[in-house]
Symmetry: C2
Subunit: 230 residues, 2 copies
DNA sequence: GTCTATATGAAGATAGAC
DNA sequence: GTCTATCTTCATATAGAC
């Protein structure tokens, strides 16, 4: 049986010779799967969204499962790229963490990323490899970005991570950052998160992190309006 | 059309007069839905697991969706009860947080709770009310328990939560606690979490929390083996 | 209320022409 | 490669006897 295999699909961004309709199918499939999940999505929906016949779908992908894997893996690549593209102005650690936090929360709480996470979580039992792929593209990717910045800050004496190590400290910052927001958004798909709310989450995470790991002279990079710790 | 409505089902624990087979159906449905999710679960599986005929299922529940809602809501009640049943020996705040953290992580990282969360997250768009119900039974329930303990500790001068307020501090502790574990478990269903790993997560969360919110004389209730902060 | 048997429709996948 | 038309399977839900 001749068909487009996974490797070709993963390379779609860099393989212009890949069939035009196969790309249409893949894009349509991504949208349908992210909206409905794997089981509730139908090949009919995908076929119609792509504007091709059902036979064309099966000419490029062995079956619904292969199409799902290809769609999710391609989306993982985009996701990882957007995380790794996070850039920020150099500055003190509070400023860096704040900008990093903003960029990351805006990605992670976007409708697309949330739909993406819902599908991965729901289907992780049926497609274990996808869970791992996403873990690399998401949490692992952001952790390496955060760790790098924490290392710089530690070298400069801005923070002290000897209690946990850099990796763990980065994970803790990440947990503080997304904790409430991700919980709320995953459970309440109808709710919209305002930029002001994101500001609050970022500010709380940064200040809490710096109270735990910051040097004695910093209080999160800005003066606390409430009384400082004794 | 005469049928068992949601209120009866929710009361099943306290309504011995509810039909015996209806209970069997509900229990079977819970297992099947938690294992396969809503769309992939079939009424055939439920019928067979319950040991009744298909017609019996529909004699008690209007359709598959009503059965799903009833099953998840009943399970939410059990979940909330187990969270609220968390008890711990009185003691200093580090000890209290440690025991509370242990109890909660053991619940939240159990196979049942994880399967439960996966289904809720996956179906929150189709059944918005279930997301809210679960949010009450899970995060909200644990937050009220944590907040209560933090309030005691604040009164006793063991912690200082003036920077964020008690509610936010409780949420932050909760985020530190489950952060990495929940992420890993939701994405990698095959992975098993060891008690040692749970110990580590609890210890890290407690110590980080107390470095951020603890009074000057405490360092998490135990001597740090690495150098203390300056 | 409970069963057996079945109606009805939909979803995954393919045959065969072009 | 792509289409139209169709096959087959299976899932939800009901009819009608007891």
């Amino acid at each position: 049986m001749r068909m487009t295999n996974n490797i070709d699909v993963v390379r779609m961004e860099t393989s212009p010779e890949l069939n035009d309709k196969a790309l249409k199918v893949l894009r349509a499939a991504t949208g349908v799967f992210l909206t409905h999940g794997f089981s509730a999505a139908t090949t009919d929906m995908i076929q119609q969204a792509a504007g091709v016949s059902k036979a064309t779908v099966y000419a490029h992908f062995a079956n619904k499962e292969a199409l799902f894997v290809a769609a999710i893996e391609a989306q993982c690549e985009k996701f990882e790229a957007s995380v790794r593209a996070i850039r920020f102005e150099p500055g003190n650690i509070a400023k860096v963490l704040r900008e990093l936090g903003h960029a990351y929360l805006n990605i992670v709480l976007s409708e697309t990323a949330l739909a993406f996470m819902r599908v991965i979580i729901a289907e992780a039992s049926r497609f274990p490899q996808l869970g791992s792929t996403f873990y690399q593209a998401g949490p692992k990717a952001i952790l390496s970005v955060v760790s790098e910045q924490l290392a710089h800050a530690a070298d400069a004496g801005e923070i002290d991570v000897r209690a946990t190590g850099i990796e763990t400290a980065a994970m803790l910052f990440f947990s503080l950052l997304r904790g409430e927001g991700q919980l709320i958004c995953l459970m309440h798909p109808e709710s919209r998160v305002s930029p002001v709310q994101i500001d609050r989450w970022v500010e709380t995470a940064v200040q809490t992190f710096l109270r735990a790991f910051g040097g004695s002279e910093t209080s999160g990079g800005r003066v606390l309006h409430t009384a400082p710790l004794n």
